[in-house]
């Protein structure tokens, strides 16, 4: 071990801006272990690194930390600090690598987990971020308050709206009226299908004046309710008011697809991806559109990116399997579809595709079975949805 001492009181919070829109006073942090409790053998190089870090000389700090770690590779604190400075420099991949090395030495270090979660969060890799935040909170519940809103952002982005609501609902009495909170909460409510409660939150936001966030939320709600004219008006207003509002172009793209305007939809998704190359909805839809054009290489690229954001998303995995099916890669398609069906036995379309795969593999009995299951599921679904709207 190095001469560095360890301890919870050794942490300092280094404020770092975060990405969720309008989160107001919420503060995300990278934890820097740097409180100067070094023993007699403390390394001058490490002290220099910390000093450089605190002075904002990021390159210098990185060089110094690395120099120190070359001699003291097992120093978790130095590793964590190096990760923090790399993250601050926007070098998230490298930061994650350093945190991962640190976690190999100290797997239950909540500060390291928090930092790693933040790095993933900054990269838009919300599934990985959420997993680290959750683990950090389990190990050290005092982090919960700091990470709640970030975790809610992750959940919303992952489509885990119920989990987001579980975090946010208890905070409503304190935080209602905070634009950032209301936006997050409204997103979760609408995502969870709670339209009436979502509408109340939207009204709360609009009562403080027009905002792109409110229009995005309302447009999303209208899109869900098949009110295409209303959705179009609100979503277009949202992107005009704040062209950089995360998710606004993606939602508008979804609406345009519903309206059958695939070219403008492509443009909207492209705009969203210019802001955030990892945005899930846009990657998924660009993948589907590319697949539709039989641009399978391009489709795979978009879908892989979408999968990186939501690693287990069944919709994306299904599209990937269909790319395999369309390109004659029957075995990968079969494996993927069988896996999906194991996880989601009611996924009718996956059964249908799997039937085709089996038939092409000359496994007629398996094809017949999957076909029967698919048809039964589709019939059940049709009987529930029948006659609810004009076509």
């Amino acid at each position: 071990m190095s001469g560095l001492k360890t301890g919870a009181n050794c942490a300092r919070l280094d404020k770092l801006k975060h990405v969720p829109p309008r989160l107001g006073k919420t503060v995300a942090v990278f934890l820097v272990v740097a409180c100067g409790l070094f023993g007699q053998s403390s390394d001058a190089v490490l002290q220099q690194a910390i000093a450089l870090h605190q002075a904002g000389d990021l390159d210098g700090a990185i060089r110094a930390y690395r120099e120190y770690l070359a001699v003291q590779p097992d120093s978790v604190q130095a590793r964590s600090n190096l990760g923090a400075v790399l993250a601050r420099a926007g070098r998230y991949d490298e930061a994650i690598a350093e945190y991962d090395i640190g976690l190999q030495k100290s797997p239950d270090n909540p500060a390291l987990l928090m930092n790693l979660g933040l790095a993933y969060y900054k990269m838009g890799r919300h599934a990985e971020a959420a997993a680290r935040f959750e683990r950090a909170i389990t190990l050290s519940p005092q982090f919960k308050e700091q990470v709640t809103l970030l975790l809610a952002v992750c959940y919303n982005n992952l489509g885990r709206y119920k989990d987001a609501l579980a975090l946010l609902a208890p905070l409503e009495s304190d935080k209602a009226g905070d634009a950032g909170f209301d936006y997050l909460y409204g997103t979760a409510l609408i995502g969870d299908g709670q339209g009436a409660a979502g509408t109340a939150v939207i009204k709360r936001i609009l009562s403080k004046g027009e905002s792109a966030e409110a229009y995005l939320l309302r447009g999303t709600l209208e899109l869900t309710a098949h009110d295409r004219d209303g959705a179009r008006a609100d979503l277009e207003k949202a992107v005009v008011m704040n062209p950089r509002l995360p998710g606004a172009h993606a939602r508008l793209g979804e609406l345009l697809l519903v309206l059958g305007d695939s070219e403008p939809a492509r443009a909207a998704f492209a705009q969203e991806l210019a802001l955030d190359p990892d945005e899930f909805t846009s990657n998924l839809n660009m993948g589907v559109l590319a697949k539709q054009d039989q641009g399978y290489v391009e489709a795979r690229r978009y879908l892989e990116r979408a999968l990186r954001t939501r690693p287990n998303d069944p919709g994306v995995r299904y599209q990937m399997a269909n790319v395999d099916l369309a390109t004659g890669n029957l075995e990968p398609a079969r494996l993927a579809l069988e896996g999906m069906i194991k996880e989601a036995p009611d996924f009718a379309e996956a059964h249908a595709s799997l039937a085709t795969v089996y038939y092409r593999l000359k496994r007629s009995a398996d094809g017949d079975r999957e076909r029967a299951i698919s048809e039964k599921l589709m019939d059940q679904r049709d009987s529930l949805a029948a006659g609810t709207k004009p076509r």
Binding site: E349, S353, T356, D382
Partner: protein
């Protein structure tokens, strides 16, 4: 000098403009279409009796058949019509069917009453299929109805007789809506059999009312049950047996629309594709023993590539890429993507709507009847669709038809706006037939639309391309030669494929003569005909620009 001076004066923009001007390719001359219906006196208009209340079947009205009922060499036209609702009766002449005799001079004579085809006793009619079921050399008619279906026998003297009862072909389960039919000889016994596409069980009494915010709309098909399509085997002597269950068709329940008949796997037996509305499509592959196996999954045509069933409407199966295997085209509603499937060597179909550009071209149109047709005689079959929304609920409910021009068998481009104002007419178009009405070798179009007189769209035939029309006369095979597969090889070695069928699109029946556009080619090296009987007949050095009647050899 003056030109250069002007370019110089244009400054920076000039070079770009100059490059564009130099790079522009001259457009190939395209034929256009002119509606000549106005030159003829007839009262028929497609009447679904919409008076405010929206009955479910009203969206489907106006079947059309192009056939030569009097064998005078000029193709005639027949139109089906609706009925008074909820009575489901043709209580008024405005609901009668219509037979127009082609005078051969660009005009048509209404001979419906004389022919006995008014259909006063019928209910609401949908599709029509023309075919010589009794091999007497005269084309007969089958009508699909709400209520009993009808078989009209052509008496050969300008009149028809309703032989439904005698034939046994009228039998179907109670209250079934039959919407389309196709004649074909599934067992190659030389007699035309009939497949009927059924939609659902419906009567005015069980019609459901669907509304949103007080505005009624045509209900989603899913609230009505799916039903089996029916197959009738021609026993000879004017009689048919319902072999729906014995053939294997009876186990598959769908909401049938258009039917395409082709030998998809090249085994010499005709297969059946049925486009279903909101239900997966069916491909019944002929097992050569009187039965069919529904193989939509195996062939990849049951759903689109995302496992979605669409509102499939019209259907046609022809070889659009001239590789010797019939491909498949079905259209559907706005916001969906029309299905173009390429036949992969008779083994399965590959969904090529995307790479052929059909997906992008079709997303704004609600298609009904459709088909592959080489409208410009360049040897590549183009994609036509009659369009118009289900309902009248938005600004773009009335729609123009579309023609997607085939570019070298690989992709398609939309040339609809270049085919003349009459082609671009927006409406609630429904039925359509491809037919050479003036025997000039270019395909004309006949299109019905709700609440309107049909358009009889004559092809201007003015691009100089050559052609061949083949009128097959079966001997051991059925008299029409339906199912015969034709392979044409030009002097330059180009090969073109087509087959004899009258079934394409939705509710409609087209000119049975096989059409080949030849482009600039002035000579045909050979024409090979594989008859349903198995006989292969080859003609050498065939003259272009003619209507060629080919009779099947006796042996």
């Amino acid at each position: 000098m003056r030109r250069w001076f002007i370019l110089g004066a244009l400054g920076v923009a000039a070079p770009a403009w100059w490059v564009l001007a130099v790079g522009a390719q001259p457009e190939t001359r395209r034929p256009h279409f002119t509606d000549v219906a106005g030159k003829s006196s007839f009262t028929y208009r497609t009447d679904n009796n919409f008076t405010g209340r929206k009955y479910f079947p009203q969206t489907m009205c106006g079947g059309v058949a192009a056939f030569d009922f009097d064998n005078d060499g000029h193709m005639d036209l027949f139109f089906t019509n609706g009925a008074k609702l909820p009575e489901l009766e043709k209580t008024d002449p405005r609901f009668y069917s219509c037979l127009l005799r082609n005078r051969g001079d660009g005009t048509f004579e209404d001979v419906t009453a004389h022919a006995g085809l008014l259909g006063k006793d019928l209910g609401f009619s949908f599709g029509v299929a023309a075919g010589d079921y009794d091999n007497d050399g005269y084309e007969d008619l089958f009508l699909c109805n709400a209520g009993r279906n009808t078989l009209y026998h052509n008496n050969g003297n300008g009149t028809f007789t309703d032989v439904t009862e005698l034939s046994g072909i009228g039998k179907k389960p109670k209250d079934i809506l039959s919407v389309a039919a196709a004649w074909f000889d599934y067992d190659n016994d030389g007699k035309l059999d009939l497949v009927v596409s059924n939609y659902t069980v419906w009567t005015p009494e069980i019609d459901k009312i669907c509304a949103v915010n007080g505005q009624e709309y045509y209900c989603h098909p899913k609230i009505y049950p799916s039903v089996a399509h029916r197959l009738y085997h021609n026993l000879g002597n004017g009689r048919f047996a319902d072999v729906t269950d014995a053939s294997g068709l009876g186990t598959e329940l769908g909401k049938g629309m258009g039917i395409a008949i082709a030998d998809f796997n090249g085994d010499g037996y005709m297969d059946i594709f049925v486009a279903n509305d909101t239900v997966r499509n069916f491909l019944f592959v002929n097992q050569k023993n009187g039965t069919f196996k529904e193989s939509g999954y195996e062939w990849g045509v049951a759903y689109d590539e995302n496992g979605n069933a669409h509102s499939s409407m019209g259907a046609d199966a022809k070889d659009y890429d001239n590789d010797g295997f019939p491909d498949l085209f079905y259209n559907n509603l706005k916001g969906q993507i029309w299905g173009l499937f390429r036949n992969m060597g008779g083994k399965y179909m590959s969904y090529v709507s995307g790479m052929s550009k059909v997906s992008r071209l079709s997303e704004h149109s609600s298609g009904w009847s459709n088909g592959f047709v080489d409208y410009n005689n360049d040897g590549w079959k183009d994609m036509y669709s009659s369009n118009g929304d289900i309902d009248d609920m938005g600004a773009i409910s009335r729609q123009p038809d579309t023609m997607f021009e085939n570019v070298d068998g690989k992709e398609f481009r939309d040339v609809s706006t270049q085919l003349g104002a009459d082609f671009a007419h927006a409406g609630f178009q429904r039925g359509s037939a491809f037919v050479d009405l003036n025997n000039d070798g270019f395909q004309d179009l006949v299109v019905t639309a709700l609440f309107e007189r049909p358009r009889i769209l004559m092809n201007s035939a003015d691009n100089g391309n050559h052609w061949l029309l083949v009128n097959t006369v079966g001997h051991r095979s059925n008299h029409d030669g339906i199912g015969a597969a034709l392979k044409l090889t030009t002097a330059s070695g180009r090969t073109l494929y087509n087959h004899v069928t009258t079934s394409d699109g939705f509710m409609s029946s087209s000119d049975k003569r096989v059409h080949f556009g030849l482009g600039a080619e002035k000579a045909i090296e050979s024409l090979e005909i594989r008859w349903p009987s198995g006989t292969v007949q080859t003609l050498k050095k065939v003259k272009v620009d003619q209507i060629l009647t080919v009779t099947e050899p006796a042996k």
